[in-house]
């Protein structure tokens, strides 16, 4: 085995292959930073070039791209608050809050180091586990996968936050978003309103970008000025290194969570990141800083998503079952090179397995180092007026969303969900539980249904189920025991009054609007659910039964706290309206004219650039956006009323 490892590293150190690996890594870094575009886009754009190379160089190029995405997305998440990829949404919450307080260097430093360690731990575990990885995956049947989803849900419960009603309602709302589209159990299409677009349900990228990215852009555009009012010091990395060292075991545990997340087909990075984030919350004594800039949140989620990269490839290589869309493209490339992944892969192509391990390990280290090097330059961006960055940022998010199906539906959904995310933000609804509910509702329903169909209820006694179940039961028992003991020692100390609720972006008028919308959504969902096959009703009801009463209660509360709309100092709705007008205009007259108009509005009206610098900058941005559209999708949206593109 070691002999193969040596052969593999020698093969990889060939100059052309190293060049390919690093070329892939650079592309991956750029796409990781562009919100909404990630491993899938990077791999698709590299795919045509892979065929010019030999098999190892081509595969190294793809591996370089996929394994650095979760390192460089930290930059976008921390500096802009828009998740660079869906799996770094927790980093966007915690890291961006830190950046706004002037601690960007700390957040980035911990993020990069955790990313690097995550990638290395993933590679090391695979290195050791190659001979046993196959049997492990075979032990994970549908009941075990269902239990993994439950573990995710359990950890997600710690993200609910202080306002219990709003946190739970947000989680239910996320589950409701997740059940749109095909039911796993029976052939029902739920809540599609006759739209073919919704037949597949919502794309994770669009939900993550909408809920977090768009809302963040709107707020920062309205506020004016730069991203951080504090001067961001990125020259002092010391703080980041110290924080990383303090949290080294958390990063290690998060990486192991990430590795297991990758073994589960189709769950992968997005779910395991949330589980690791939930674990960070549960394992922290003082939880008050979560949601307002807690470095442990960054450490855990970056450790987890990077560790997932390589273990995502295990089901791909051993069983030809891709763990995600990027792995699917990688699988396609393997086929093209004449490798047919399967149970015999380890014995037939041991060198290839080790080539993967080495590629990921090497990229993790070099990628993190490059990110460190690039950050001081990127951090300067946070001092210039945000409107200047916002213009390309919004357009890149549009491109990212447009990768899902390449139809106008993607763009509409981005801004519709953006409006919802914005309302949630100002209505005091936490968005993390909504995203977790969305991510987990699909696998939970699918695996529960398959499990019950195949095993009846006998699956509850399977050893794997019991082991995974203990991850939930043991912490519950411990906290119950602690709670009992605290009660015996009497006089529960009042919770240290937690600073004040999150810098209060929450407004009573928006809380009421959100409550009205959510109540209507749940009420309609309850009505339509009645027409489904019984098996397809289960999951929507799981969201509606608690969700509807909670929303009604929030509605009552909303009316009580409501004291009229106040828009004099509140400029954000204008910006939201502009974005929605933009989406509609793209639908009506195609991409070019509305995009140019949006650029003019942002650069001259919002950012107040001088006309000639603004014009040059605007033309460059416009050209780059057109180029990205052409390169990635082949055809920018064409107007429905006026057939321009």
């Amino acid at each position: 085995m070691l002999e193969n490892a040596v052969i593999a590293i020698e093969a990889l150190l060939d100059p052309v292959r190293l060049l390919a690996l690093f070329a892939g890594m650079l592309v991956g870094m750029v796409f990781g930073m562009l919100p909404g575009l990630g491993g899938v886009a990077a791999v698709s754009i590299l795919l045509p070039f892979v065929y010019y190379m030999d098999d190892y160089a081509g595969l190294a190029m793809l591996l370089g791209a996929v394994s650095v995405v979760y390192t460089s997305d930290t930059i976008t998440s921390v500096l802009l608050g828009a998740p660079g990829s869906p799996a770094s949404a927790p980093t966007a919450i915690e890291g961006h809050a830190l950046a706004k307080q002037g601690h960007a260097a700390q957040a980035l430093g911990v993020g990069f180091l955790a990313s690097m360690v995550g990638g290395l731990v993933g590679a090391a575990i695979l290195f050791v586990a190659i001979p046993v990885a196959g049997p492990i995956v075979l032990k994970l049947g549908t009941p075990e996968l269902f239990m993994f989803a439950l573990v995710g849900l359990f950890f997600a419960s710690s993200m609910i936050g202080r306002d219990l009603a709003k946190g739970l309602a947000a989680a239910c709302f996320g589950v409701l978003l997740g059940v749109v589209g095909p039911a796993q159990a029976a052939a029902d299409f739920r809540f599609t309103f006759g739209q073919v677009y919704l037949l597949d349900g919502f794309s994770l990228t669009i939900v993550a970008l909408g809920l977090f990215g768009v809302a963040e852009v709107i707020s920062m555009l309205a506020k004016g000025g730069g991203i951080s009012h504090e001067r961001i010091k990125v020259t002092h990395w010391g703080e980041g290194f110290r924080d990383f060292w303090v949290n080294k075991f958390l990063v290690l545990r998060a990486s192991i969570i990430g590795v297991f997340g990758g073994f589960v087909p189709a769950v992968g990075a997005s779910a395991s990141t949330w589980v690791a984030y939930g674990h960070a919350i549960r394992s922290t004594r003082d939880r008050s800083r979560f949601g307002r800039g807690e470095i442990r949140g960054v450490a855990a989620s970056e450790g987890a998503n990077n560790a997932t990269v390589i273990s995502d490839l295990v089901p791909t290589l051993l069983f030809s079952v891709p763990g995600g869309p990027a792995a699917a493209i990688f699988l396609g490339a393997l086929f093209s090179f004449g490798y047919y992944p399967g149970p015999r892969m380890i014995t037939q192509n041991p060198d290839l397995m080790f080539l993967i391990v080495w590629s990921v390990a090497l990229t993790s280290v070099v990628g993190a180092a490059l990110c460190f090097a690039a950050t001081p330059f990127l951090a300067r961006l946070t001092r210039i007026p945000f409107a200047i960055i916002a213009a390309p940022l919004v357009l890149i998010m549009v491109i990212g969303a447009y990768q899902s199906t390449g139809t106008m539906g993607d763009i509409f959904m981005l801004f519709t969900l953006g409006a919802v995310g914005w309302l949630m933000k100002h209505g005091g609804w936490p968005r993390a539980p909504a995203l977790v509910g969305f991510v987990l509702s699909g696998p939970m329903e699918q695996y529960f249904w398959l499990t019950n169909q195949i095993h009846g209820w006998s699956w509850l006694g399977r050893p794997g189920v019991l082991i995974i179940g203990s991850v939930i039961v043991i912490p519950l028992l411990i906290s119950a025991w602690r709670w009992l003991r605290r009660r015996q020692t009497a006089q529960a100390k009042t919770e240290s009054d937690e600073n004040k609720p999150a810098a209060s972006e929450s407004r009573p008028d928006m809380a009421l609007v959100m409550a009205v919308i959510a109540t209507l959504a749940f009420a309609y969902a309850a009505f339509e659910t009645m027409s489904f096959n019984p098996a397809s009703r289960l999951m929507p009801l799981l969201a509606i039964v608690p969700g509807l009463p909670l929303c009604l209660w929030l509605l009552v509360r909303g009316f009580r706290e409501f004291d009229g709309f106040e828009f004099r100092t509140f400029k954000e709705p204008e910006i939201l309206a502009v974005l929605i007008v933009y989406a509609t205009a793209v639908w009506a007259i195609g991409l070019s004219v509305p995009t140019a108009a949006l650029l003019v509005w942002m650069l001259f009206s919002r950012a107040r650039m001088r006309w000639w610098t603004g014009a040059i900058y605007g033309v460059i941005v416009f050209a780059l956006i057109r180029l990205l559209f052409e390169t990635l999708r082949g055809d920018p949206p064409v107007g429905a009323l006026v057939a321009l593109s």
Partner: protein, 359 residues
């Protein structure tokens, strides 16, 4: 995903290669053909399209550049609808797809805007499937399938999509099979088979040859039958040349019952199975495409089939399956896409009563 030629050239040079421009005469000289795959990049259909891409570039007159473009969504309906609205009639837009696009059309499902039966057929590639069973059922060959010692559990994705011919074969053979639908894809089903959660499965040939054969050799899977292939009279009775050692569904029925299959179950199976297996991967063109273009594709397909490189490569992946094109192929596909009203209503009733599909 399309990559502009300029960018390709720039990157290719950057990586140290040069693109040699071929200026040859021919119908497609200097043109670009878009092959629309209505599934995700990396899926079986996408990989097959990429597999065929270099051979078409080499043998089509004028050596056009071929772009394989993925347009996933709506279980392939979105991509096919896009084709309906945007396809050009000069042969430069091809919809390359499977029965997942054909079945919703045949069944008349909501959201289908494409007129598949009106399209011209440029070429087609068989995509046959092999049924296999776990030895834990006690079954050692197709003839014993009714004597399984444990209940048969079949894993699938959705009744109205690519699982339909498999489910119909169980109806033809009158098997008592519990169908567990709702898996993410055929890969996860195969994994569930190896885990012992399901014990009856169908896999398409490339996967069968590269994955399942290993299990057969190890004694953990027993191959049963194939969907069969079309004989000279257009019936699905012949053995599949891709796995000639295995009987077809037709043969298994005859052996079990002592008579030829007939009736509505058999008609429905024939219609659906021939679009799924015999003409599984088909390149469709705009209804107004000229006969000249179709003739060009027919002779190109003949040239590809004769190309020793293609023969060697396809031997590895599909046991040497060949492309089909021409009038006979088109007639057979169009017939399968327009079944009789009885077959259509039988399918709709079966799907809604037994599998809860809403139309």
């Amino acid at each position: 995903m399309k990559t502009t030629t300029a960018l390709t050239a720039a990157m290719a040079i950057a990586v140290g290669f040069t693109v040699s421009a071929q200026a040859q005469d021919g119908y497609f000289a200097g043109k670009t053909i878009d092959v629309i795959v209505p599934f995700g990049a990396g899926g079986a259909t996408f990989v097959s399209a990429k597999f065929l891409e270099p051979y078409f570039e080499k043998h089509l007159p004028g050596n056009p550049e071929i772009n394989v473009i993925d347009r996933p969504g709506g279980g392939s309906i979105l991509g096919a609808n896009w084709f309906e609205q945007n396809a050009k009639s000069d042969g430069t837009t091809i919809l390359f797809t499977t029965s997942s696009t054909a079945n919703p059309f045949v069944l008349g499902q909501k959201g289908v805007e494409y007129r598949l039966a009106d399209y011209r057929v440029a070429y087609s590639h068989p995509f046959s499937a092999v049924a296999y069973v776990s030895p834990s059922t006690g079954v050692t060959s197709a003839a014993e399938i009714k004597d399984a010692s444990t209940p048969l559990i079949y894993g699938g994705i959705a009744a109205a999509a690519s699982d339909l011919p498999g489910l119909l074969s169980f109806e033809v053979l009158d098997l008592d099979v519990k169908s567990v639908l709702g898996f993410n894809g055929r890969g996860p089903v195969r994994l569930a088979f190896e885990q012992g959660e399901v014990n009856l499965d169908y896999q398409f040939t490339p996967v069968y040859l590269t994955q399942v054969v290993a299990s057969v050799d190890a004694g953990t899977a027993v191959p049963l039958w194939t969907g069969g292939s079309v004989d000279a009279d257009g019936n699905l009775t012949a053995r599949d040349p891709i796995a000639p050692e295995l009987p077809s569904v037709y043969e298994v029925y005859t052996k079990l019952n002592g008579s030829d299959p007939s009736g509505i179950e058999w008609d429905a199976f024939q219609a659906i199975a021939s679009v799924t297996y015999a003409y599984g991967l088909t390149g469709y063109m705009h209804p107004d495409t000229s006969q000249e273009v179709l003739d060009i594709f027919e002779s190109t397909v003949a040239a590809i089939n004769a190309d020793p490189e293609f023969q060697a490569e396809s031997q590895k992946v599909t046991n040497g399956a060949r492309l089909n094109a021409g009038a006979a192929t088109e007639t057979a596909i169009k017939a399968a896409l327009s079944p009789s009203d009885e077959v259509r209503s039988y399918l709709r009733t079966l799907l809604s009563d037994k599998y809860g599909v809403n139309f």
